[in-house]
Amino acid sequence: MKVTIIQFPGTNCEYDTEYAFKRLGCETQIIWHKEESVPAGTDLLVVAGGFSYGDYLRSGAIAKFSPIMNAAKTFASNGGKILGICNGFQVLTEAGLLPGALKRNDNLHFISKHHHLKIENTDNTFLSKCEKDSVVNIPIAHHDGNYYIDQDGLADLKKNNQILLTYCDKDGSEINPNGSVASIAGITNIQRNVFGLMPHPERAMESLLGSADGVKMLEGFLEL
């Protein structure tokens, strides 16, 4: 299992992501965004978190034009698996690989804390090792995590079971920390090969550091 992690100027979660996948026994490689192709043999391409291009203009708006993103689009259209975490999710929506957009949090604060999430769908590679309707505890750290999609788009997400994760309390009741439509924390595309979420499963790999719930989420990719 080979994981390739994209690094833009301003990315800051590439090494955490590398640690997480190495811990799961994967071969990992960090590549600079100027690369024009996805390395051969890549099973999973990860757009890591951070602040690509300083979040200038909009989060992810400038990163989407990096050479590697053209390659990522080709990779996805050939069925390749892509995971976007936090800023990576923002980049994937800006690039049109996932529907919707991420706005400034409703309370205008940068929110950095552990948050419970409900596993909404497990019929996909990413969450295949999780139990539907179970609750995981995963760090969130974002200023622009307020997921927006119009009503028609939301109806499509629901109809096609594209909503992967929603924000909740420890008992699974809906709580909305940032104003996201339908408390959405993560989604997939209709083909189920591109995944995006605002929370950071790669920061939840060690119980000592507050939670190891990220392990069972990322483990879903191991069978690739």
Partner: protein, 80 residues
Amino acid sequence: MKAIVNISLKAGVLDSQGKAVHHALDSLKFDGVEDVRVGKQIIMKLSSTDETTARAEVTKMCEDLLANTVIEDYEIELIK
């Protein structure tokens, strides 16, 4: 030619910054404010002298990069 692009959240999209500014204006007793929207303005100096060409070019810039049309509207003003 100068192009001024005004970008704001679409009418149906909640503008939290606008709401916060509105609230602050209320606190300062500016009672006559009915609504506040916060946007951004991008000012560009263009080499083009033809308004039609310039408008087409700036429209493409907005669609591709300057605005995210999922959540934002844009208005273009050209000044010779």
